[in-house]
Symmetry: C2
Subunit: 329 residues, 2 copies
């Protein structure tokens, strides 16, 4: 059994509270007493019971992060950023995988954590940053730290246009989407084409089931089979782009000579693909840091609920091999 304050107090011949005072470095403790207590602490191997401390303080120092699955590198990298940011705030992170069904997740540990972060709030949204919320009621204010979906994909598309590409595929559009990252990104793609005076062509907007490598490969396969000519691919995330690279490679289509490819997410994977993938770095670290900070603020301000806030972080375009200037063009 673990030693308690009481054990230490008994051994040191002082009251429980004095031991507690020593532990918390309270002023006005006689050095001799302090030493005696410290010796007793060492002797019994006392370590504070955090559960009891939490009960007193009403805090646990733990937040939960709800995400679909860690198998997806996007979420894994997000999780690692969140854990690092939380550590800086003195918080630990409990991870829950929602696997699509997201509502149930919040129930399980809500009463055990000081706050919760959701990487997707509804099932419709894709990777649009983080939502932060206290475990309180279902209708408490929710902060949102998000990325520039539209602007970033617009910049990505313009990057290909600047290379002279004119038949640019939007890989990852999803049929009926009117909200979520998918539609925002599609909007950016269309804006870029429009600004360049190009018509948007339905046959270049390729739908996928989900934003996975597999679907990226399959959609590219279908695209090639359809015979639709194209010279660039703006993939709505890196997984799709990597899938596309695979299919193109298999079919012997050279990237970036024949087709330029750009992704979105800046996964570690993007650096090591063949060719290395040009992509949008959406500001993941900053999203994680801000979301954790906002949640920490809310936890601190408990009482007068802050209004819901939304913050958008800047993105960057990372040029790699998949959009290199074709030398012999």
């Amino acid at each position: 059994m673990a030693a308690t304050l009481s054990d230490v107090a008994q051994l040191a011949g002082v009251s429980i509270k004095t031991v507690s005072n020593v532990i918390h470095d309270h002023p006005n403790i006689r050095p001799a007493t302090k030493q005696r207590v410290l010796d007793a602490i060492a002797a019994v191997g006392y370590r504070p019971n955090l559960t009891a401390r939490n009960l007193r303080s009403g805090r646990t120092g733990v937040i939960s992060l709800v995400l679909p699955t860690l198998r997806n590198p996007y979420f894994a990298e997000l999780a690692e950023a969140v854990i690092e940011a939380a550590e800086r705030e003195g918080l630990s992170v409990l991870i829950e995988q929602s696997r699509g069904a997201d509502a149930g997740a919040r129930a399980s540990t809500a009463q055990l954590v000081d706050g919760m972060l959701f990487s997707t709030l509804g099932s419709e949204a894709e990777d649009t940053g983080l939502y932060a919320q206290l475990p309180a009621g279902p209708h408490s204010p929710v902060d949102h730290v998000t990325m520039r979906n539209t602007e970033a994909i617009r910049a990505a598309t313009e990057h290909l246009l600047a290379l002279g590409r004119r038949r640019i595929v939007a890989l990852g559009a999803r049929p009926g989407d009117t909200s979520g990252a998918g539609s925002l990104r599609l909007l950016g793609y269309r804006q870029a084409l429009a600004a360049a005076g190009l018509d948007s062509r339905p046959e270049l907007e390729r739908a996928v089931e989900s934003w996975t490598r597999f679907d990226g490969a399959a959609a590219t396969e279908a695209l090639l089979n359809s015979g639709t000519p194209f010279d660039g691919i703006v993939a709505f995330n890196d997984a799709l782009a990597l899938g596309a690279l695979r299919t193109l490679g298999q079919r012997g289509i050279r990237v970036p000579e024949q087709v330029s490819v750009i992704g979105f997410d800046d996964l570690d994977d993007a650096r090591y693909s063949l060719p290395a993938l040009t992509t949008i770095s959406p500001g993941r670290e900053q999203i994680a840091t801000l979301a954790v900070q906002m949640l920490a603020e809310r936890i601190a301000e408990r009482g007068e609920p802050l209004p819901a806030r939304t913050i958008t972080v800047p993105f960057a375009l990372v040029e790699r091999e998949s959009t290199a200037q074709a030398s012999a063009d």
Copy 2:
């Protein structure tokens, strides 16, 4: 502020304990009373305070998983398997990233969790399964669920030998290693060669700094530059193998026609590389499940410490494109 048992009791006009009894479905509660309490619970939106419950019970229902980083897909996939297994045992998982320095990690949350899993116990070990331990003392017994490192790499090497490969590179050996996964795997490689009557050649045992894609690519680069002829690569993990594929691809060396490549880990990535990577599936799900179960057992048996146990799980060789039989051989 959250409602407590006391609030519910007051509203329902009963004692605190009766409310508690209703919540726990104790027998012998008059239906009328029960209904009144249930209504009150709903009215005030009562949800049990888990921290208080934990203090009473001495359990938290949380275990921690300590791993180097989630950025590494191996650990991310391991984490997802652990979280799933924990969920089945009714446990939540708190993730801590050790980033190499591993000793410090255990201190931070030890008093907040019922038990801990380490994916590497010392810095020397690579991915050799999971260690399970109660948060108690530093010298409490440690369970270990591990994989067949030597046998698996031996099987991998024999797989290439069966394809007719004779100049097989061991990618991932590490110079002075005498323990850890690296040396176990190197042993398996040498066993396979010896069993086939081949001498092991130092120039085919390629060292790397760390088991990353980057180092896999760099080591392959160095290998090619050295002029040493080779027709197969047994990489000690998938990341190294994927790095090797990248370099081979870049240099125009055809896999599997000219070189067969096999990895170890069976990451999701291995399925989507070009060519798809043949690899060893080390039994990750089973490792996670068993480790969590053993830890749960220890948590339940608190009092009489079980002796430390070690379990080894079976592996499987997953054939994909990178070791396909060369048609024109």
